[in-house]
Point group: C2
Chain length 419, copies 2
């Protein structure tokens, strides 16, 4: 069994819109255990759509189409499908009533132009669209099951999940794909890959692979089999990865580092305060992006100038001139002052050189000191982060959260994060 995905629209061929629909549908088909043979993308051109439909439908069992179901003249999917199938285009009474009902709910008369949206090839059926006016189309064309859906992502996803998945699942071979993602921060992708090399062999089941996004290295497990088999493989492989990577793993699936950090603080009923220089408020922004952060985050200082480091956080001006603003003693003083001024359990500080300018041989761009002050005193670590300004700033904020996270779960930093 194999599937093709056809996307229709000039905005896609011209590159104005990135084709995320095709990637989403590809992923959904994989999850259903249906391999994807090819994606095709064509513009709003009748001859081109018909030719592509006729070429591709022969070799596939499932053809998913998105786009071209709107009410205007450049929406050609209905016509093209009927022409390719050598069938008449007929009006579907049920679909027409649904479109009329959609406008009635909005208290607006149905524009005449929307009537064409109820058309379908004679042997096909319409699919309801609860999120918009464009019904979908389901057709049998030789050995191929065709499903045409709107191009608007929300409408396409709703229709696929409600109406197409049940049909595909019933067609399935009983083999599913399960995916689990384990997210780590603190070790580079290649070093991490070395530690789990034997699990990453190509073509095995489960297959294990790594990806990096914004400094977070994620390990994905793909397991195929019956539902029960795949679930069991996911469980045992996860356990082995946890064994190898330990507390470098901060979450599974899509939970971000800031959310984990806020949850741990809330569970411990502890507050944190921040004092930032080079990150300019990014650490504060990440923590407060999590709903409910006010229960564990008092606030912070963005002491970008030395004057504010002195006046607001009491960083000694002699210390600033002796060691420079980017130094361990200044990071320590900032973390302690944040903790004290805010009467918080923890104080986190960041001072560094984010670039592109301001580096020197002794203090190059990417040098960052991160301090954490707690009931047992203050600790400062020195990092040299690679990359450009935005990467350095984000890595610094992520590392500060990691230092706090490891304190909160009672782990020593050097036992978890390799130097």
């Amino acid at each position: 069994m194999q599937a093709d995905i056809l996307s229709i629209g000039d905005e896609l061929t011209s590159g104005q819109t990135i084709n995320r629909n095709a990637a989403w549908l590809g992923e959904q088909l994989q999850l259903l255990g249906i391999p994807v043979r090819r994606h095709l993308t064509v513009g709003d051109n009748l001859v081109e759509i018909v030719g592509t439909l006729q070429w591709t439908h022969n070799g596939c069992d499932v053809l998913l189409i998105s786009g071209g179901l709107g009410p205007t003249d450049d929406d050609l999917t209905r016509q093209a499908l009927a022409a390719a199938m050598h069938e008449d285009l007929v009006t579907d009474d049920g679909a027409l009533r649904e479109i009329e009902a959609f406008f009635a709910r909005l208290n607006r008369p149905m524009p005449a132009v929307n009537r064409v949206q109820a058309a379908r090839p004679a042997s096909a059926q319409c699919i309801s669209n609860p999120n918009g006016t464009a019904p979908g189309i389901a057709a049998r064309w030789g050995n191929c099951r065709v499903f045409a859906m709107p191009g608007v992502p929300r409408e396409m996803k709703g229709m696929f999940t409600q109406a197409v998945v049940p049909v595909l699942a019933a067609m399935g071979t009983g083999t599913v794909l399960r995916i689990r993602k384990l997210n780590t921060f603190g070790m580079g992708e290649s070093a991490l890959g070395d530690r789990i090399k034997d699990l990453m062999k190509r073509g095995s089941n489960p297959s294990v692979g790594t990806t990096v996004h914004d400094g977070v290295v994620s390990v994905r497990i793909y397991a195929r089999g019956s539902s029960d088999e795949a679930d069991a493989v996911i469980r045992s492989t996860s356990a082995e990865l946890v064994n190898r990577l330990g507390d470098l793993i901060f979450s599974t699936d899509d939970e971000p580092l800031e959310s984990v950090t806020v949850q741990l603080l809330r569970q411990a009923r502890q507050m944190v305060a921040t004092a930032e220089s080079c990150t300019g408020g990014w650490l504060a922004e990440l923590l407060t992006s999590v709903p409910g952060a006010s229960e564990c985050y008092s606030g912070g200082w963005v002491t970008y100038s030395n004057a504010l480091k002195a006046s607001e956080l009491g960083v000694d001006s002699q210390m600033l001139s002796a060691h420079g603003a980017v130094s361990a003693p200044v990071a320590a003083a900032m973390a302690s002052a944040a903790r004290q001024n805010a009467h918080a359990h923890w104080g986190l500080s960041i001072t560094g050189i984010a670039g592109p300018d301001g580096g020197s041989p002794e203090k190059p761009v990417g040098l960052v000191f991160i301090g954490i002050a707690g009931p047992d005193g203050v600790e400062v670590r020195r990092f040299q982060f690679p990359g450009a300004r935005a990467q350095i700033r984000l890595r610094a904020a992520q590392m500060a959260m990691t230092m706090l996270r490891l304190k909160l779960i009672g782990r020593k930093f050097e036992d978890v994060v390799p130097s």
Copy 2:
């Protein structure tokens, strides 16, 4: 003249990777005046790649391929192209030397496996890759010019720009597409569209359209013609749009709002300080994301708790209990204190309800007060932003920068931004 784009890789058909390369190439072809007929995406499968090449190459003048040029067994583009063209695969001596030189620069011996990357169909030529080991391939296949490039975006873009664009430009019809983007903040997309409706008629040259990204409504002008004609049309249409939209426009092309704000401050040699509650440091983060921000940004306070609003910014506790933290008097007090404590020319403050919880009938989620303190006193504006937590926070930070930007260019807020 028309072009096809073929992308190769299992990670694309399976949806693990979104196909941004195809969109980028589509856009580049449009800019060169070459219409794109279709995009095709196939997995790492020899039969499938050969079949797709043979089907598609006939009707197009240009075929751009990306992916499948790596050194491993699943990199099949070289073999597939030779098979489809009915040619032998030969080793290109020049390309082999370049791959060897690439490893020599890294002080590493060339792995034997990389030798296959120097292979090409007998009649084709290799294209240098300064950014990696995979050479590209340029071939003439009937009436079709074929260019195969690596799938790594940086390598593909470098090779396309250096080696492919000159060939395509020489093939061109003399008609180019020029695009200019004008970025606005402060007016919704539909209200803005109404103001320029007559310029947005479909199928006209120039064509004008709007898009929204992260609250910024951009107006794009597309002009076709000879270079001179298109440039002239871009100039006159830009002038008309500036006439209609005035200082709602903050930049052209890709310059973000924070960058414009920092440039204006630096030109005026003025400093700003920030005091944030619901945005939690996002305003500070945006300003400091711009290199050189230290010349105009002193720093700021993230007074997330009421206690910190009182202790750090001197916000009266009676005022807090009488009006609540989300109120005009508190925003005014925060902006003034930020300005004074930092000895800055300007103070910006934000206090609001970002949700999802914490709203009430009197103070619903999305209610935000923004204050600006300057040499002429303090001004507070009340906003009701739509959307969820992240949108509300970002809109608030963007609006604060807009209030400052309009002060810096000497415009009254209510004369520019509709209420």
